[in-house]
């Protein structure tokens, strides 16, 4: 009996000390291994995400653009949902989605893009917000094991596919019209329009709305091949817009054949690479498809320049502003990331975060978080 007790004690002693030694060593080991680097990147991304949510999300789930008239836009709601889903903040995710669904959801399932002072001030939709929200719902459904969120995401995805895109391509025109064709989308294509308000005639598009990862997620969730068509078409249009050595514009128009032309904003102004288009390299750099990443790499010579990176550029890459914005740095980081330079990506993301800390904005905070999440972590899903 005594002997048995001694053996049990010995085993206990060994187990306790061995476990303690292992745990303490693993915690205190200062060596920076690949897994440690990944963990650090993840914790930085989570911290940035939390900072954005803390700064701009109300307890009721509204994301308030405090530096832009304190309004609420569907884009901000979608960003908050993406960030919350990525960092695993289910409570905040549900709050934001509930508020969004209660206050912005339109009868057709899309989201009205603006809300102020207790009411929707513009019922039209913005496709980027809808797309990001749908992706966030699908990711959240998976992450939080919540089929009802996935179902909401699928419904929103269907609404986007039904109401926020246009058929384009040479296949939509008689053969004789194509001679000679210089630009266009060969065969039948489908493009995500800027919103529900521009699906006929030359459609208004915002290349910064194209998101191959979101489209891939929604294709997987819905099995709706229209998402594959959109991804392919967006890539062709993306190349049209940048192939001649220019930057993608914030806004463009696409004709029935799929030929895209850079334009200024609908409200007027010159065609520029600004805070809208800066999202395009980020979204393409996070893609799992090397074809998409090639597009991001192609923008590197113009976007990743030494010295200060201006917030606004002319399409030939020349500065159009003397001020900076974190999202421009994140765009540069994205091109570097697509090119396989992990250290360079970190450096630029850190610069973006420092700039955001110095001059905090809603949009900057959102993209500092999303940039880290999309480019350096698998928080929104593995490739």
């Amino acid at each position: 009996m005594r002997r048995a007790a001694a053996i049990v004690s010995a085993v206990l002693v060994v187990a306790v000390f061995a476990t303690a030694g292992w745990w303490v060593t693993r915690e205190l080991d200062p060596r920076v291994t690949v897994s440690v680097t990944r963990a650090n990147q993840q914790s930085e991304a989570v911290a940035a995400g939390r900072a954005f949510l803390d700064a701009y999300t109300e307890p009721d789930g509204r994301v308030v653009r405090r530096d832009e008239g304190a309004d609420v836009v569907s884009e901000g709601q979608a960003y908050a949902m993406l960030v919350a889903a990525a960092i695993g903040d289910e409570h905040r995710f549900r709050a934001v989605w509930t508020w969004t669904a209660d206050n912005l959801r339109r009868p057709d399932g899309l989201l009205s893009w603006r809300w102020l002072d207790g009411r929707v001030t513009d019922v039209n939709s913005a496709a980027d917000a809808d797309l990001d929200a749908a992706r966030a719902l699908v990711v959240a459904g998976r992450r939080f094991d919540a089929p009802e969120l996935t179902a909401d995401g699928v419904r929103l995805a269907s609404a986007i596919a039904d109401h926020e895109n246009a058929m384009v391509g040479t296949g939509t025109s008689p053969r004789g019209d194509l001679d000679p064709v210089v630009d266009g989308v060969a065969g039948m294509g489908r493009v995500l329009t800027a919103g529900n308000w521009t699906t006929s005639g030359p459609s208004v598009i915002n290349p910064g709305y194209f998101s191959p990862r979101a489209e891939q997620d929604l294709l997987a969730a819905t099995a709706d091949l229209r998402w594959a068509d959109m991804t392919r078409t967006h890539r062709v249009i993306g190349w049209q817009l940048i192939a001649t050595g220019s930057l993608p514009p914030d806004w463009a128009r696409v004709d029935a054949a799929g030929a895209a032309t850079a334009t200024g904003p609908v409200s007027g102004g010159p065609a520029r690479f600004g805070l809208d288009a800066a999202r395009m390299p980020v979204r393409y750099a996070e893609s799992c498809d090397p074809q998409d990443r090639s597009l991001a790499i192609a923008m590197r010579p113009l976007l990743d320049i030494p010295g200060d990176i201006p917030a606004l550029r002319n399409l030939d890459g020349t500065p159009a502003s003397d001020w900076q914005h974190p999202v421009a740095l994140i765009a540069a980081a994205a091109t570097v990331h697509a090119d396989g330079d992990a250290d360079g990506t970190e450096l630029r993301l850190d610069r973006a975060a420092a700039l955001e800390q110095k001059y905090p904005t809603y949009y900057g905070a959102a993209w500092v978080a999303l940039g880290r999440i999309m480019l350096t972590t698998p928080l929104l899903g593995q490739c």
């Binding site: 002693v13 476990t19 060596r31 000679p180 065969g187 001649t244 074809q291 090639s294």
Partner: protein, 897 residues
């Protein structure tokens, strides 16, 4: 009693430990760490011995004594140079065997200095399992070989019989160790101490003298070798042992101090700490503590010398720590034994043994768990990572895509494999030698321009000098392919030699793929259409696809990127089309028979698909710049066949619009009379030619502008190729009133270089049209007053003249051809007024043809699975051997007892 049998019950334990030593090294032997430059250098030097009887693959400059790689050479003669997949991997197998020998020697040494079996086993276990030991023990370092000899010497000196023969053997072993790696000389004090303390007191001086003499004789062989080669001391035009020693002792970069976080020395130590902080951090305290224990003192002195070498200012080689690991293991285990023994004695004496058990057990568990926790991250990489994959893939890519005639700047890790692959050793140049070896520099008088590729690896990137041939080569290169990422990436950098003859392959400009994709829509995979519309497709793929689409109903399946070429700017140069089975062989033959710019690298048939790959290197074919405007009236074109030795076989020249529609054909008529002008819409065309009933050959891309007349002159190719076509616009600027314009097309090959001039018969004014022109030249137009001229051709010292009329306002081409009595000028009136359209297209692919099918890719490199199998087999054999050894001894003991 047999000596081995006297090892007693420890034999099975030793067998297991030896097996463990082999297994942890052999598993994933070639996956981690990735091959490095140093390994390649030693293997290449061994290769030079076996292949050419030379001491090194470049000038041997006494950087290290050569006995280390002589052992590697012997090994390669036994197992072959690439048994495990590549040359370095084969040498790594030897490292596994050497590690097993070292482990056995550690056991013997520990036992001979009086350590118990369990502490001896602990020493062997520490050596066997330390990730630092495993990582560096897998790597082909001379230190691994040298350490085995050092331990052999120590074991002999610790022989219980204390015979003079042991001293003799030990001195020999130590001499071999130093001749394998000169840093082993650091252990001289240790051996002096050992000889002194392990000899019988009466013969100490004698033993020391014998040891010194034998060791001295061993070293003298090295001096003798240098003397015989006339390289003992510096002199003009040769290297010397003295300079080699001077470089190793004082010539290397100091490497910075320990306190400098960015110094090379600190980086080296951080690397050791990353692999194994336990052994690295324990080395100094273990050495200090070992000095206090009599039987461990000689080894502690040896270890302390190494520690001092690490701490002192100066260069610190990465593998220096290899020599310290066995000593840390032996001394560390010995100290633990001493501590446990002391504790036991104290416990027994003070009757506290009972109460000591718990804390002792806890402390042991804590120490083991801390050690394992610190080792775990390294083990994950050692057992699971395939860090060598980028090197392997790069090697395969080189074999498939880099012509053997190209000159490569390489990391030495690839040197032997590339040379064994059939490349001239002068075309595979170790990067380090570019700026340091005058012999290498003499082979490349134009510096970086004499090279075609840089194979950039981690160690090369870390050692690119600020200036010199390597720096220039890297600066003037751009990646053609990239494998891996981060520090492990291997980049295949193609050197752009100059701007005029660029070897940079541009993709087809935007627009060409668009029009072709629009034409193919409906009979192509949508994804492939998307790719075709991106500016990532090789010009040859677009042109060839246009021809194919014009000739056959094929389905474009894909335009894939070749592995490694994604994201580095190399255009997609592979084409996958779906072809009915009955047409596959004919189409394969069509592509396989292409020559010149459209020659294929490989054509493969897979199920219903045909996979066509063009070679990496090419010249621009005319699709790199955007198409000119296709608006306006038609252009006109005539064809003049000026090739040598044309037979009477009827041929057609076919024009295919870049959108994949057949525009029409022109019959090719040999001789001075060109075809009539034919009207063609402005645009971009792919030109093919074919004889009736034969497969067409894709020739080139033409761009014709609205309202312009052209002469398409077909010459024989200068490089033996069948045809080189030149499209010359015929519409020169309108001459002044009363004048005409004249140009020359040189198609007379027999006359040799010629001068051609026109002399006005009325004024005697002489106008030179061309000087020293050869076959294949088309000059620009010269304006001449209208009238009659004497046109003179001078070639080979002779002159021929004939009268030529220059008409007012007219452009004339003088076609210089070989005539029966010398060169003859044929005047042609240029410019079309009205031109009939092209004939209906004669482009068709043959119904049947003998296929010319090449493999989809050639690989000179065995797959990693093969090397892994060899490694596992080696480990298995080592295990079996160790167990058999242990079993045999145990059996023998049992019989004797």
């Amino acid at each position: 009693m047999n000596r081995l049998a006297r090892l007693g019950p420890g034999v099975p334990v030793l067998g297991l430990l030896l097996a463990l030593t082999a297994i942890v090294r052999a598993v994933n032997l070639n996956g981690s760490p990735a091959r490095i430059d140093d390994e390649g250098t030693y293997v290449a030097q061994a290769f030079a011995i076996t292949q050419w009887g030379e001491l090194a693959h470049y000038t041997y400059w006494y950087d290290h004594p050569p006995f280390g790689w002589m052992q590697l050479a012997l090994w390669s003669l036994v197992v072959g140079p690439s048994t495990a997949g590549n040359a370095v991997a084969s040498a790594r197998l030897l490292m596994v065997a050497v590690a097993v020998v070292i482990a056995a020697l550690i056991w013997l040494l520990a036992r001979r200095v009086g350590m118990t079996r369990w502490s001896s086993a602990l020493a062997v276990g520490l050596f066997a399992l330390s990730p630092l030991s495993v990582t560096l023990g897998r790597t082909v370092y001379l230190d691994n070989l040298a350490v085995a000899w050092v331990l052999g010497a120590a074991v002999l000196l610790c022989s219980p019989k204390r015979q003079l023969a042991a001293v003799f053997g030990a001195a020999t072993c130590f001499g071999v160790a130093v001749l394998s790696k000169e840093t082993m000389l650091l252990f001289a004090p240790m051996f002096a101490w050992l000889v002194w303390t392990r000899s019988v007191p009466a013969t100490r001086r004698y033993a020391l003298a014998v040891f010194g003499a034998v060791f001295g004789v061993m070293l003298t062989t090295y001096l003798l070798m240098a003397t015989v080669r006339g390289e003992l001391v510096p002199g003009p035009g040769h290297v010397s042992l003295w300079e080699g020693v001077k470089f190793q002792l004082w010539g290397r970069d100091a490497g910075g101090g320990l306190g400098d976080a960015y110094s090379l020395k600190r980086h080296t130590i951080d690397q050791w700490l990353m692999f194994d902080p336990v052994v690295t951090l324990l080395a100094a305290p273990v050495a200090a503590a070992g000095l206090l224990v009599d039987r461990l003192r000689p080894f502690a002195i040896g270890l302390m010398v190494v520690v001092v070498m690490v701490i002192r200012p100066g260069y610190l080689p990465v593998p220096l720590v290899i020599s310290a690991i066995p000593l840390v293991a032996v001394i560390g285990a010995g100290l633990i034994e001493v501590a446990v023994h002391a504790l036991l004695e104290w416990g027994i004496a003070s009757s506290a043994l009972r109460w000591l058990r718990g804390p002792a057990l806890g402390a042991a568990a804590l120490a083991v768990s801390i050690t394992l926790a610190l080792w775990w991250p390294t083990y994950r990489g050692l057992t699971g990572a395939d860090d060598d994959a980028p090197m392997r893939m790069a090697q395969e890519w080189i074999a498939a895509n880099v012509p053997r005639s190209d000159r490569l700047i390489v990391d030495d890790a690839l040197w032997v494999d590339l040379v064994r692959d059939g490349r001239d050793r002068r075309n595979v140049v170790w990067a380090y030698k570019l700026d340091t070896d005058t012999q290498v520099q003499s082979l490349a008088p134009a510096g970086w321009r004499d090279y075609d590729w840089v194979i950039s690896t981690s160690s090369m990137r870390a050692n690119v000098p600020a200036h010199g041939v390597l720096a220039d080569a890297v600066e003037h290169s751009r990646p053609a392919a990239r494998f891996g990422s981060g520090g492990l990436r291997v980049e295949l950098l193609r050197i752009d030699k100059n701007a005029t003859e660029t070897r940079t392959v541009s993709p087809a400009a935007p627009g060409y793929g668009d029009v072709l994709a629009a034409r193919l829509a409906g009979s192509a995979s949508p994804d492939a259409l998307g790719i075709l519309q991106s500016p990532t497709v090789d010009q040859r793929v677009v042109a060839a696809l246009a021809v194919l689409a014009a000739a056959e109903p094929v389905v474009l399946e894909d335009i894939p990127a070749v592995d490694g070429e994604y994201g580095v700017g190399t255009p997609r140069r592979e084409l996958v089309v779906s072809v009915p089975g009955s047409r596959q062989r004919a189409l394969a033959a069509f592509f396989g028979s292409q020559t010149g710019a459209f020659a294929t690298e490989s054509v493969a048939m897979r199920n219903d698909a045909l996979i066509i790959r063009f070679p990496l290197r090419t010249k621009q074919i005319g699709l790199a710049v955007p198409a000119p405007s296709a608006d306006g009236g038609p252009a006109s074109i005539r064809v003049s066949d000026l090739r040598h030795g044309r037979t009477g076989r009827q041929e057609w020249l076919n024009l295919v619009r870049i959108d994949g529609t057949a525009a029409g054909s022109v019959p090719i008529v040999a001789g001075a009379a060109p075809s009539s002008y034919r009207s063609v819409p402005p645009g971009v065309y792919v030109v093919t030619t074919n004889a009736i009933g034969h497969a067409p050959t894709i020739r080139q891309v033409l761009s014709v502008e609205s309202g312009t007349s052209y002469t398409l002159a077909l010459f024989s190719g200068p490089d033996g190729s069948e045809m080189a076509a030149q499209l010359a616009p015929d519409s020169a600027a309108a001459p002044a009133p009363g004048a005409g314009t004249v140009r020359l097309i040189e198609a007379a090959d027999g006359a040799g270089p010629a001068d051609v001039w026109m002399t006005a018969l009325d004024t005697g004014t002489r106008t030179t049209l061309a000087t020293n022109v050869g076959y294949g030249l088309v000059t620009g137009y010269a304006a001449l007053p209208a009238g009659i001229y004497s046109a003179t051709v001078r070639a080979k010292g002779r002159e021929w003249s004939q009268q030529i009329r220059v008409n007012d306002g007219q452009a004339t081409t003088l076609l210089l051809m070989d005539g029966p009595a010398g060169p003859l000028l044929h005047p042609l009136v240029d410019g079309a007024t009205e031109a009939p359209p092209l004939d209906p297209s004669a482009l068709s692919l043959p119904d049947h043809a003998d296929p010319v099918v090449m493999p989809a890719s050639a690989s000179a490199v065995s797959d990693s699975g093969g090397s892994a199998r060899v490694a596992l087999a080696s480990a298995f054999l080592a295990v079996i051997g160790a167990l058999a050894f242990a079993g045999g001894i145990a059996l023998r003991r049992r019989r004797r007892s």
